[in-house]
């Protein structure tokens, strides 16, 4: 073993490397405990809540399938947040980009009936990605041309997207059937992701490994990844080194939007009805942010933290029907996770001198804060 390899091995075994993981687990446990405490304080049985939660998330093949179904968009959204923030951009518009992707997917999915199924699915996913990227292109271009903060503009566009969907499902895209239901026609059967087995799990789970591996490869082994690392470490140094930081940031936002759009396509193609309807993404964009933060912006970590939040979502739904605790408690858990993670960075630096965490505390805010 060479000296270099020995150093590497030692560094891997160093407790400091495990510290971020330990902190994330601790944050998840504490946030969960606080939520249970709140539920207990409001006069509900904690035991009932916990058992309903576990049943809802993991009780039986269908429940597990549903949990994984929720996990798919959440992983993609967590990765979307990571992509944007590695370009030093705050993409608060994931929710709107999901909706835009869902619209694109529905349009392609409800047309082109005769296509072979794999081709139709691929086209739908592509349409979702393109529409998500285009929706994200608005804030990206406003930032490049007019210095408008992506944070503000992308968030405003969420409201516009929600209203756009509300209009489309009552207008051009409404199911022309006699019932007058406020949703689109269902997508063609050829566009629906096939089931994996007898449960409710669908083949769109393959999007998880594809997206995670793609991002890890780009981050570690490409020039783009190197540029993004330099930009996120020191934006002005990157600019002086001749990197087009503005353009790279804009592309990062659009890529982020594309991933959110694909998450939106999964919400349509993997859904029970296969239709576009109002509120088909109720807050997934924000859960995705919590997913990424809990994973401390690590793409592989996103899988674990998405599983946790998917379980929270599914378990929380059963808790609502069985115990009567509002599923707004899930939002509470998200908010707590984000705040605890923000607070824990300081702790991590104090305890271990963790370098990447210290960089997060470095006095250089995101580009174009307001």
């Amino acid at each position: 073993m060479t000296a270099l390899a020995a150093t590497r091995a030692r560094r891997r075994l160093d407790l400091g490397a495990l510290a971020p993981l330990a902190v994330s687990v601790a944050v998840a446990v504490v946030a969960g405990a606080v939520c249970l405490l709140v539920i207990g304080l409001t006069g509900n049985s904690i035991a009932d809540t916990a058992s309903a939660f576990v049943d809802g998330a993991f009780g039986g093949e269908d429940a597990v399938g549903d949990t994984i179904a929720v996990m798919i968009p959440l992983v993609l959204l967590g990765l979307a947040w990571i992509v944007a923030s590695s370009g030093r951009q705050i993409n608060l518009g994931l929710e709107g980009q999901i909706l835009a992707g869902g619209i694109g997917t529905t349009v392609v999915g409800t047309n082109f009936d005769g296509l072979a199924s794999p081709l139709h699915i691929a086209l739908c996913v592509l349409a979702g990605g393109v529409c998500g990227a285009l929706w994200a292109a608005l804030p990206a271009l406003l930032w490049v041309w007019r210095d408008v903060s992506v944070l503000l503009s992308s968030f405003m566009l969420n409201f516009v997207a929600v209203l756009l969907v509300a209009w489309l499902v009552r207008g051009p895209l409404q199911n022309p059937g006699p019932l007058g239901i406020v949703e689109s026609r269902p997508v063609a059967l050829s566009a629906v992701w096939p089931l994996v087995g007898s449960g409710s799990l669908r083949w769109d789970w393959v999007l998880i490994p594809i997206a995670v591996i793609a991002l890890v490869v780009v981050q570690r082994w490409t020039t783009t990844g190197f540029r993004l690392r330099v930009i996120s470490a020191n934006e002005s140094a990157a600019r002086h080194a001749g990197m087009a930081t503005t353009r790279i940031g804009a592309v990062a936002v659009m890529t982020s939007g594309a991933m959110a759009g694909i998450a939106g396509s999964s919400l349509i193609l993997g859904s029970f009805t296969g239709t576009l309807k109002e509120g088909f993404s109720s807050g997934y964009g924000f859960i995705g942010i919590a997913v990424a933060l809990l994973a401390r912006n690590n793409p592989i970590g996103c899988v674990a933290s998405a599983l946790l939040f998917a379980a929270l979502q599914q378990g929380g739904a059963l808790v609502e029907t069985r115990v009567g605790v509002s599923s707004a408690s899930v939002d509470l858990a998200e908010g707590l996770v984000i705040l605890f993670m923000a607070g824990s960075t300081w702790l991590l630096v104090k305890l271990t001198g963790h370098r990447r965490a210290a960089a997060e505390l470095a006095p250089e805010g995101p580009v174009g804060t307001v």
Partner: protein, 361 residues
């Protein structure tokens, strides 16, 4: 007058007030170098607190005080993490945003589901005699609820605080050059804390204005992005109280106008004339002030002006669905940010955590 009658002005002044409260609080906080994107969460927390406490006590004023307490509580969470622990202000703000929305919705459903009581008292209008009889603007300016008057009176007060007191000077220094402030022997931490708590007060009162100032009800996410509109108003108002007031009136005006036009069948010629005049003003004002203006820069407002006049004369029947109308305030906020923003004017230490030299490793 078409849609531009006294009822419209009443609603412009009323609808601008909650945004104004939130924006004035945020203005102080941002001047102190702390950006608080959790404002929306504070507004929702304040709205629920005002609703619940008014329901408990029957007093709208106690409800308004409770909304301040809720806003300050959220600001304190933010202060501990973002000022004391130097965590990323944006991330902490995001946590506050989601926590405020989640906590208020959860509390509302837990306490009020099945009770059937959903309307609480709200403030009645305080009519100022004689002045409220002035035509067109009388009712808008002199027949509003107290929280609305207070919001507008807070504008000169905030100006006085920031530009005529020692504390205000310290706040502005904390946002521009915290090192200089610390060198002068004043604690940046303490100054930023007080500035951030002001954002909590403003956010809370914005929520109170929504609940006890007008509707007397609470609904999930009732603020509908007003916290973010307020953030945009601070940018558009160029971090100055009078500018912020103007920005809030523009956004409130957009909201009032779209509500009115939803009810009218088609867009009347007066609205097109207004569009044309805005286009003309966008060209004329810089010219009068002697600014350099290339033909390319005048192109967009010029086209807007011509199109506005053409549409005012032809007055085509355009009746968009309500959802399109509801987009108007958000789209306007985007356009305004795109048209008028200047990043150079923002406080230079905005969003940056401050660490004393002794703390830097």
């Amino acid at each position: 007058m078409g849609p531009f009658d006294s009822a419209l002005f009443v609603s412009v002044v009323g609808l601008s007030a909650p945004v104004l409260w939130a924006a004035l609080g945020e203005l102080i906080s941002e001047r102190g170098g702390v950006i608080n994107i959790g404002l929306e969460g504070m507004v929702l927390g304040g709205a629920f607190a005002a609703y619940y406490v008014t329901w408990l006590t029957g007093s709208v004023w106690v409800g308004a005080l409770a909304s301040i307490a809720a806003g300050v509580a959220f600001a304190a969470i933010m202060g501990v993490l973002a000022i004391d622990r130097q965590a990323d202000q944006i991330i902490v703000g995001l946590g506050i945003l989601i926590l405020g929305g989640g906590a208020s919705a959860l509390a509302f459903e837990q306490i009020f589901t099945g009770t059937g009581r959903t309307i609480v008292d709200h403030m009645s209008e305080l009519e100022i005699p004689l002045l409220s009889d002035v035509p067109v603007i009388g009712e808008a300016l002199f027949k509003q609820v107290p929280l609305v008057y207070l919001a507008y009176l807070a504008v000169p007060f905030v100006w006085w605080l920031l530009w005529r007191t020692r504390w205000g000077l310290a706040v502005r220094a904390a946002g521009e050059s915290p090192e200089a402030l610390e060198a002068d022997g004043i604690s940046v931490r303490a100054v930023r804390w007080t500035a951030l708590l002001c954002a909590g007060v403003g956010g809370g009162l914005a929520g109170a204005t929504l609940v006890v100032g007008s509707l007397g009800t609470f609904t999930e996410n009732m603020s509908a992005g007003r916290g973010f509109i307020a953030l945009a108003a601070v940018v558009f108002g160029r971090w100055r109280p009078v500018g912020v007031l103007g920005a809030c009136l523009v956004f409130g005006g957009a909201d009032a106008l779209q509500l009115r036009l939803q009810a009218v069948g088609s867009i009347p010629w007066q609205v097109w004339t207004l569009v044309a005049l805005i286009g003309v003003a966008a060209v004329a004002v810089p010219l009068v002030r002697g600014r350099q203006m290339t033909p390319a820069m005048a192109l967009v407002p010029g086209v807007v002006a011509v199109a506005g006049f053409v549409l005012a004369v032809t007055e085509p029947t355009i009746d968009p669905p309500s959802q399109i109308w509801l987009m108007f305030p958000y789209v306007l906020a985007l356009l305004v940010l795109a048209g008028f923003v200047g990043r150079a004017r923002m406080p230079s230490a905005l969003g940056l955590p401050y660490r004393r030299a002794s703390e830097v490793a």
